[in-house]
């Protein structure tokens, strides 16, 4: 564990230096992300001006949901998104050779070698909005609920990571597969929509097969008291994430088995 942490610390330092080299882009991307969150809130605010509830979800519950989904996106961006997007390039250009010879788990190394710092600066805003909503709306939840919310949140990030990693490994086999990335981004973008918009059949589909509801609706439900079957769903999400993680690992090493170095 100590070994993993020291490698991660070095990656962290290098990432800070790199980010600081592109100051303007850094600021603009931060502003862009904040505005995007604002647009999402404005979108639902506009809808709620015309209706009190969307199948049982009020405006503040939806705002809470949007923000927790945004946090999942930020956590994924901070630790994994950039590394995963570079994986196909590493294999195609042969630069993965440098990582193959390192005495550390390969999946860990290629998944965490860079840390994207921009989203770190964005974390306070959704956290503040969520805290404000909880305070003003007076949602009652226990410490255990909060712990379960954190657990469901971590599992959501893990699911996101496993799917992203699997797609990146898949992309190694093809020349152009940008659509796959776009598909997963689309899916997770809609994870911030309230589960109430789905019919029962659709809810089952977007929970058990395509895990859209597990990403933000499930963690949020422990604070908001929604989704009556949330405890069972958490158990299911845990199993789902473990299976996905294992699959991503198996798939990655299978793809790597076909790898022949192209570098000199």
């Amino acid at each position: 564990m100590k070994h993993f942490l020291s490698v991660f610390r070095v990656s962290l330092r290098n990432s800070i230096y790199r980010e600081l080299q592109f100051g303007l882009n850094f600021v603009l991307q931060c502003v862009g992300n904040i505005l995007w969150l604002g647009f999402s809130l404005f979108f639902f605010y506009t809808i709620y001006q015309h209706t009190g509830l969307i199948n049982g979800w009020d405006m503040y519950q939806t705002f809470f949901l949007i923000n927790i989904n945004q946090l999942v996106i930020y956590m994924y961006q901070i630790f994994f998104a950039r590394n995963i997007s570079q994986l196909p390039g590493l294999v195609r250009e042969g630069t993965i050779d440098h990582y193959l010879i390192k005495p550390i788990d390969l999946q860990f190394l290629v998944s965490t070698r860079n840390v994207d710092f921009k989203p770190v600066f964005l974390l306070p805003l959704p956290l503040f909005i969520m805290a404000h909503i909880v305070k003003t709306r007076g949602y009652a939840f226990s410490g255990r609920d909060l712990a379960l919310c954190a657990a469901a949140f971590t599992i959501a990030v893990l699911i996101r990571y496993s799917i992203g990693f699997m797609i990146a490994a898949f992309a190694v086999l093809f020349t152009r597969i940008s659509a796959l990335n776009a598909i997963q981004n689309e899916f997770f973008k809609y994870a911030g929509y309230p589960a109430g918009i789905f019919t029962q059949t659709q809810q089952n589909f977007f929970t058990f097969l395509v895990p859209v509801i597990l990403i933000a609706n499930l963690p949020a439900s422990f604070v908001l008291g929604l989704l009556p079957n949330r405890y069972v769903l958490l158990l299911y999400a845990t199993l789902y994430s473990i299976i996905l993680l294992l699959l991503s690992r198996i798939f990655f090493y299978k793809v790597l088995g076909k790898y022949t170095s192209v570098s000199s």
Binding site: F22, L24, N25, L28, Q29, V31, G32, L35, W36, F39, F42, F43, T46, I47, H50, T51, G52, L53, I54, N55, F174, T175, R176, I177, S178, A179, L180, A182, I183, E186, F187, Y190, Y193, G196, I197, F198, Q202
Partner: protein, 272 residues
Amino acid sequence: MRSKNISHETVFLRVIANSIKETAAYRVNHVLSFLVILLPLIFTSMLWTAVFASGTGMMNGYSKSTIITYYVLCILLFDVLYPGLNYSVSADIRDGKLSNLLIKPVNYLTYNFAIKVGLNLVYLLSSLLLACIFVLLFIKSFYFPPAARYLPFLLAVLLAFMLSYLISFSLSLTAFWTEEITWLQTLIDILVPFTTGAIIPLAFFPKTLVSVIYLTPFPYIINFPLDVYLGNKSGGPLLHGFLMQALWLGALYFAQAGLWRRGLKRYQACGG
């Protein structure tokens, strides 16, 4: 070797054909890109169906039928009409490949336009087919306007496409001055979805904000063509919209020509 004069039109059509072939070559990606369209179609129609099921009648002049139609068309046209940076233009400038194209008897603006037409034609036709199937199977309330409105709508989309291309081309020419242009793409990604009406129709915005947005060319890229389709613009406002599209086209054409001339004076290609 037999020399043959080839007209500009033939070159234009051949570039389009090559561009179509290139797009069609990546079949897996092409098939998967259908899903990218399908997902927002599904989620958006579910959301609006749920909203209107909650007892809402009309929202800022939009009924359930017209708002779903707005988003279906918006999702369909967004990628085609999005005025993002044209990375092949900036790469040509940065990597010196432009030299190769400058000595050819083609206009660079037209050449790139032909590539864009080719790329988008395949995408648009296939996604149109998918959207038709989706609408016929799942969206019972899709709005079909009177026949007389299709022609103005198609004209508005065509002008919007050219407008979007000129914005994209002009912005990409900044590569003559600076190598790092990702900040520009970020800026576009912030402004465009909001100001074109791709996130929410502009009719939902406060009036002051709308009047500011209408000072830019962006509302004429998505919101205006969709308003034409839905019949929200007719008579005077319709003509005014077309006039504004034409004016912006003229202004942007001269802007890109000026940038191109100045940029070429700075352009240096290294290597052979």
